[in-house]
Amino acid sequence: MNDAAERKLALSHLWVAFIAFILACFMGEYQVLERSGLISALDSPSVYFASVSTHGVLMAFVLTTFFIMGFGYYIAATSLKQPVWNKPLAWGAFWLALFGVVLAAIPLLTGKASVLYTFYPPIVAHAAFYIGATLLVVGSWVWCVIMLVMFVQWKKAKPGQPVPLAMFATAMNALLWLWTSAGVALEVLFQLIPLSLGWIDTVDPGLARTLFAWTLHPIVYFWLIPAYTAFYVFVPKQAGGFLFSDEMARLAFIVLAVFALPIGFHHLYMDPEQAKGWKLLHGIGTFVVALPTLVTGFTVIASLEIAGRLRGGKGLFGWIGSLPWTNTMVLAVILSLLMLIFGGFGGIVNASYAMNAMIHNTAWVPGHFHLIFAGTTVIMYFAIAYYLWPMLVKKPLFSESMALVQLWTWFIGMSILTTPWHVLGLLGQPRRISSVVYNNLLTLSWKPYELMMILGGLILLGSACLFIYNLAKTQLSPASEAFDRQIEFAEPIHAVESLPEWLNDFKPWNKVIAVLMAISFGYPILQFFFMNTSGSSAWGF
């Protein structure tokens, strides 16, 4: 198959993602420097909050969305062995989303949208910010449609055959994202855009927070699923072994997508506008969604063990040493799992209904999500990029050893950044502050940790630069005619010949999600229309 058009499509998306990433990394380092108070000339709340808002939006919305779209297009084309459906539409979505990003960037960078990436009303930003963000999301919806159409077309052409696991995961992610983004879309379309344009006078912040919580939890699984996809479909092969279980992988993706959605209220544990019964219900669901991650951890480690033993590793732990540590994909998955173990522990604290009160909105929270999102998830984005780049540009990677150094330094930098961040949270430091002006002895204990974070950020910034440099060098190096690498998907130990329909299609799960969402969000949203509420008018920042 001549996939030049697909490769160009994927590359364009991935470059937008990584340019957003590197710009945001510079802002991240500025932020740790500013808030430490080390250089008093830097002190400026207006610059700080413009920066954090931009950094958050670039990392959480732009890097992720564009990466997932580009990755999805290439996975669909290669795993289904068919061209991307309706490429003009795909390009239209790309340009629409990019236009949206630029439109949102203008108020962000000029300090007219310092509302952070969560943009909680009644603080209101310039309307261009919300409209730009909406266009980005609309672009991603087009991607979802293309993924689902390709899935359905393939199944029609090959009745009864198992859809390749990589595509199954991608389609589940598209379904997940359609449901996930609906909450914030309702908030933005019916509350924030009308309020920012002055079409309505007030909004109910309680309703807004409820709708945002609908999105806020499953969105992290939208970001995480490409990493899990790589765990299942690339890692075992790269390690020299087999996938432990194809069916369990499918089940994990299903439970992930279905149970990520109805549990968003763990972000509202401390909120007055929802009653405790609903919070408890969502709290229980939050623990259920830990199951697919536990299963994934098991499957990945088991697949690695098979590989290690096939390579001659012996004894209880001997197989670890005989893994190909110099393979970027294998190294990344090991570091990723390490960060997942620590991050998962922190996550249990957050999820625990009562313990959460100690760390809610403290520095612990950004510490936690940098570890698990910027660490566990993004390190797999790097590994995927290193793996796909030579296929996308038809040239060997500029430097494998530089890539290994980059992965190690990302891990080390992330450990040095996030450990003190967690401690600061336990010492009571609130998140989202640009400097420490509290007149209290407690704050004296914060200083050394803030200084350590500067070092961690610096290592991360260096690592990020290495990453971009390596990719750019690879693409710009002279073409070599002979080079032709094909993507390789891992084989399961037990090949699957046939599957029950519910392991091979997303449609039954769509219905299950609809029922669960109606149960867990129906009344909590409707209550705002029955209660005697008084809205809030718009405030600046």
């Binding site: 709340p45 207006s46 909680y120 009303p121 009644p122 603080i123 109910d204 912040p205 309680g206 927070r209 432990f244 279980s245 069916e247 369990m248 401390m270 909120d271 007055p272 506008e273 929802q274 009653a275 405790k276 919070k279 408890l280 229980i284 623990f287 830990a290 199951l291 536990l294 299963v295 098991f298 088991a302 249990i348 625990s352 209904y353 009562a354 009160a357 100690m358 809610h360 909105n361 403290t362 010492l427 009571g428 609130p430 989202r432 640009s434 400097s435 002006v437 509290y438 007149n439 209290n440 407690l442 704050t443 029950p500 519910w502 005697n532 008084s534 809205g535 809030s536 008018s537 405030w539």
Partner: protein, 200 residues
């Protein structure tokens, strides 16, 4: 509407699903792992549920509305009523207003080892309040009263910090609260607490 055929249809659906689930190839070791995972998850869920239902361990969740735009007209949160008050039965209630960039009243003194009911409202945007090292933590959402009941075990001077971004002055939004030994504390006379003007 015919209930019986529908019931049969769904029962059949579930039976098929279960049979197919059983037919999936799952390795012995993996079966064990899943069982252990389920037990651990069940344990966590069980503890939380029992604590919530029987020990009343719940986050602030009183769905009570208020008009944040007209707090000055509101009897309960008029300026004279803010701060610490003790009712006839001896219950201690602390009424506080959050507004950019301060908590009102600016300073309060409360007894240790005493059940305190805090009632927080916002007069403008979203805020959060946390007293580090304690579980006095709640979001303050405009339009709602955030009520939280807690006890401070140890006397001392505690900072009270806004922990939700509320504008460019967010990190200036703080004050201190004095927790003093129960014996030394005397209930303030009604309406004696007024909004002060200095920070300590």
């Amino acid at each position: 509407m015919q209930i019986e055929p529908l019931k049969q249809k769904y029962a059949q659906l579930l039976r098929d699903f279960y049979a197919q689930l059983r037919a999936i190839h799952i390795d012995q070791l993996e079966r064990k792992w899943i069982t252990i995972s389920l037990i651990v998850i069940g344990l966590f869920v069980g503890i939380i549920t029992i604590d919530a239902l029987f020990h009343g361990v719940n986050p602030p969740s009183k769905v009570e509305t208020v008009d944040s735009a007209s707090l000055h007209l509101n009897k309960e949160f008029a300026e004279d009523n803010l701060g610490v008050q003790v009712d006839d039965k001896g219950n201690v209630t602390v009424r506080m207003v959050a507004g950019r960039y301060s908590f009102f009243p600016k300073h309060i003194t409360v007894p240790a080892e005493t059940t305190l009911t805090f009632r927080w409202v916002s007069m403008d945007v979203l805020h959060g309040v946390h007293i580090p090292m304690t579980n006095m933590s709640t979001m303050i959402v405009p339009g709602y009263v955030a009520e939280i009941t807690t006890t401070f075990p140890k006397p001392g001077e505690y900072p009270m910090l806004c922990n939700e971004y509320c504008g460019l002055g967010h990190n200036h939004m703080w004050s201190n609260i004095s927790v003093i030994a129960k014996e030394n504390w005397t209930a303030p006379a009604k309406s004696s607490v007024k909004g002060g003007s200095n920070n300590e």
